[in-house]
């Protein structure tokens, strides 16, 4: 903000103004800070403390040092959930980003009922994931499901059904998760598309650029900021996949769809091991933190300003 011209301002006045400004800033920040502190920072530090204890909620926590973390390293269930989580994120993130971009490009054009199309893609975002998962569970039911029936008509018969089949259950929960969330990312991309200056396209057209070249050289690079945002948000969200899995498969069959958050839930709420569950939560926090730092570093070099 400095103008580059050193002006000798009366010190005390500047100080007062600054202080007043600072106070106003803190006042504006206060509500968010209080909420963040009470509902995020405090619980997280509590969870950090509990991760070093043996705690079943019904009895006071007892300090066990690093025992939970040591158990984590050798725990088959943790390794399984970690692999499942990474699998889910590695598939769901790129697919979501690509589909969200595709939908945004399509729905950015002018055509009749465009509003309806946008609403249709966005609608799943505002519907509860649990409700959505129940509906999909019905559609995919191998015996009474509509989708299974249609797929059967064209010769695609899943013997025990998508959700119940050990190899198809994960794709099923990924499809539902992706379908549920692309609307949100699409909106981000739509905003990005609309902020790209028209004259760039006109210039490209004058130069004889094909539609693909226009996308490749104008649209895609200028959407870099949105791509960064969407990719990071999506990766964070998919690493925490829970709701639809809880409803559709409950982590089964035999833990094939058990993600880290499902494991946290199982350890805490059904096996009463909240200390261990807290340790897994913190492992997940660290995983997300590290991944986000890498993503951020990668994308920051590609950020655009126009």
């Amino acid at each position: 903000m400095s103008t580059g011209i050193p002006v000798a301002r009366p010190r005390y006045r500047g100080g007062v103004a600054k202080r007043r400004q600072a106070r106003a800033a803190w006042l504006f920040l206060a509500p968010s800070l209080v909420i963040l502190g009470v509902f995020i920072v405090y619980p997280m530090t509590q969870a950090l403390y509990l991760s070093f204890t043996d705690y079943d909620v019904l009895n006071p926590a007892t300090w066990t040092g690093l025992a939970n973390y040591r158990e984590l390293l050798g725990d088959e269930a943790f390794r399984n959930a970690l692999v499942n989580t990474l699998y889910y994120a590695a598939v769901a993130t790129p697919v979501s980003v690509a589909l969200a971009l595709g939908c945004a490009l399509l729905l950015n054009r002018r055509f009749p009922l465009r509003g309806l199309g946008r609403t249709a893609v966005f609608l799943p975002v505002v519907v509860g994931l649990a409700i959505v998962a129940i509906a999909w569970g019905f559609l995919l039911d191998p015996d009474i499901g509509l989708l299974s029936y249609w797929l059967g008509k064209i010769g695609l018969t899943a013997n025990s059904g998508w959700v119940r089949d050990p190899t198809l259950a994960m794709p099923a929960v990924i499809i539902v998760g992706v379908w549920k969330n692309i609307g949100f990312y699409m909106v981000i991309y739509l905003a990005g598309l609309q902020s790209i200056p028209r004259d760039l396209y006109e210039a490209a057209e004058v130069d004889g650029a094909s539609p693909w070249q226009r996308f490749r050289n104008v649209t895609w690079p200028l959407l870099a900021n949105q791509t960064m945002l969407v990719t990071i948000l999506c990766a964070i969200a998919t690493l925490q996949a829970f709701d639809q899995i809880f409803v559709m498969t409950h982590g089964g069959p035999f833990f094939r769809t058990e993600t880290l958050v499902m494991l946290i839930y199982r350890q805490g709420f059904s096996e009463f091991r909240f200390g261990y569950a807290a340790a897994i939560s913190w492992a997940l926090v660290l995983l997300i933190l590290v991944l986000s730092i890498f993503q951020f570093a990668y994308f920051r070099k590609r950020a655009v300003r126009y």
């Binding site: 509902f39 995020i40 619980p43 997280m44 509590q46 969870a47 509990l50 079943d56 909620v57 019904l58 009895n59 006071p60 926590a61 509860g128 649990a130 959505v132 998962a133 039911d141 191998p142 015996d143 009474i144 059967g152 018969t157 013997n159 025990s160 059904g161 959700v163 119940r164 089949d165 050990p166 549920k180 949100f184 964070i236 969200a237 925490q240 829970f242 709701d243 639809q244 809880f246 409950h250 089964g252 069959p253 035999f254 833990f255 880290l260 958050v261 946290i264 839930y265 199982r266 805490g268 709420f269 059904s270 096996e271 009463f272 909240f274 569950a277 807290a278 939560s281 997940l284 926090v285």
Partner: protein, 445 residues
């Protein structure tokens, strides 16, 4: 505190961050534990005004039996002027999610109704009051209660609950489908041989794609009332021995039963693989399965779906007739004052009187908790009598096992599912799981 629980009811807003969910739940629980010191011995005065004691009662009877529960509570409150029961009914999953942090905070209800199989998890952590004082009072006529249901409330030599309801599971068979398959619609299978023949006959793959359009049996393997264990018991095996001390999943009898029925499911497709309890019910309800072994809670749904079904004891295996018994038990909070515990016992006594049990049975469709009600009292509801009949051969699944959830969800169910999906054999997987179950059982002694 509920907001912190990642329950299926939670709205999936954009990206519900896991650490927030879990963190909030933990923090809520912890901060409440923090105030437990001041809060636990609540002043008795507030709820005993005018010599009247108010006790809170939580349970999960949200189903068709809800009016019967509410009716009896109302009747009890009107029947005397010393005790008032205030009841809070929520779905079972919400009930348990609420119960854990509230008891952890030294609060929670005075009286609760919970599945007897869950009692040891709480009793072993010292949060339930032993009920032996109730059983030793002859006026309560506890000797008239269904014995297996009473035994299921025991944990390490003490009783921690009193039966609130009790039922067995029966074989439902679809008479119309029996007729279409050339079977006598009025004669249910009585032995395993007849059961297996019927199941095969009733399984039909009409379009020849290898996936039947109609199944002989709906056999659920997860998220369900125990169905497979009935088959293990029928052969003399099981998951855990009746006294809760010995793992039996690796027993040759269990493995033999698993091989026999697993082969029928995998190769003859008599039942789909991977059914949850609700899926199995749906299958029978939509006439896609001809038989199911389940409790009285499905009679209304099946009748409403227009199914002409019969009820019989599950066909007897080589080891003789057996079925699953299941019960919800009354349990009293350990933090509850003596006066309130006494009041709770008054209510439990009222609940289990002959008159109340008759009303309960007819209203809920469950058989009575007492063995001394004449069938003549219950003729209005023929199902009630049927479900009460095999009480003598009923076994409780994982009774007196502290780590019910861990044994069932973490060790037994995955092993069963792997075998059914052809990811291993019972000979290999069951002894492995059995050894792990044994470790848990040993550690609870």
């Amino acid at each position: 505190m509920m907001n912190g629980n990642p329950s299926p009811r939670r709205r999936g807003a954009g990206s519900p961050t896991a650490r927030r969910l879990i963190g909030v739940a933990l923090a809520a629980a912890l901060s409440l534990t923090g105030c437990a010191g001041q809060g636990q011995k609540k002043d008795e005065g507030s709820s005993t005004s005018g010599g009247k004691v108010t006790i809170s009662f939580w349970n999960g009877f949200t189903g068709p039996d809800r009016p019967a529960v509410e009716g009896l509570v109302k009747k009890f409150n009107a029947s005397q002027n010393k005790v008032t029961v205030t009841m809070e009914i929520s779905p079972w999953d919400v009930f348990f999610q609420k119960l854990l942090p509230s008891i952890g905070a030294g609060k929670g209800p005075d009286l609760m109704g919970m599945d007897a199989a869950q009692l040891p998890q709480y009793a072993s952590r010292g949060v339930l009051r032993p009920m032996d004082e109730y059983y030793s009072d002859a006026a309560n006529e506890s000797d008239k209660l269904v014995k297996p249901a009473v035994d299921a409330t025991a944990w390490q030599g003490k009783h921690y609950g009193v039966p609130m309801n009790f039922t067995t599971l029966l074989l439902y068979w679809n008479k119309g489908m029996f007729k279409d398959a050339g079977l006598d619609p009025d004669t249910p299978p009585k032995t395993w041989a007849e059961f297996q023949t019927a199941a095969k006959k009733l399984t039909k793959d009409t379009n020849g794609d290898g996936k039947p359009e109609q199944y002989g049996l709906a056999l659920a393997d997860h998220e369900t009332i125990a169905m497979w264990p009935i088959l293990f018991w029928g052969n003399g095996g099981g998951v855990v021995s009746d006294d809760g001390k010995k793992a039996m999943l690796g027993d040759p009898k269990t493995i033999e039963a698993m091989q026999q029925w697993g082969d029928l499911v995998r190769n003859q497709h008599i039942s789909p693989v991977g059914l949850g309890g609700a899926d199995a019910d749906k299958l029978f309800q939509t006439k896609k399965a001809a038989m199911e072994i389940v409790g009285p809670w499905m009679t209304t749904g099946f009748k409403d779906a227009g199914i002409d079904f019969g009820l019989a004891a599950p066909p007897a295996g080589p080891a003789g007739p057996v079925t699953l018994g299941t019960s919800v038990a009354f349990a009293v909070n350990a933090k509850t004052t003596d006066a309130k515990a006494k009041a709770a016992q008054e209510f439990i006594k009222f609940w289990n009187t002959k008159d109340s049990q008759k009303e309960w049975a007819l209203g809920s469709g469950f058989p009575p908790n007492r063995t001394d009600l004449a069938a003549g009292d219950l003729t209005e509801n023929p199902y009630v009598v049927a479900f009460g009949e095999p009480a003598g051969t009923a076994k409780f699944y994982l009774a007196n096992v502290k780590d019910f959830t861990k044994v069932n969800d973490t060790l037994y169910t995955p092993a069963l599912q792997k075998v059914l999906n052809g990811k291993g054999t019972a000979q290999d997987l069951f002894p492995q799981a059995s050894a792990q179950i044994q470790q848990l059982l040993d550690s609870q002694q």
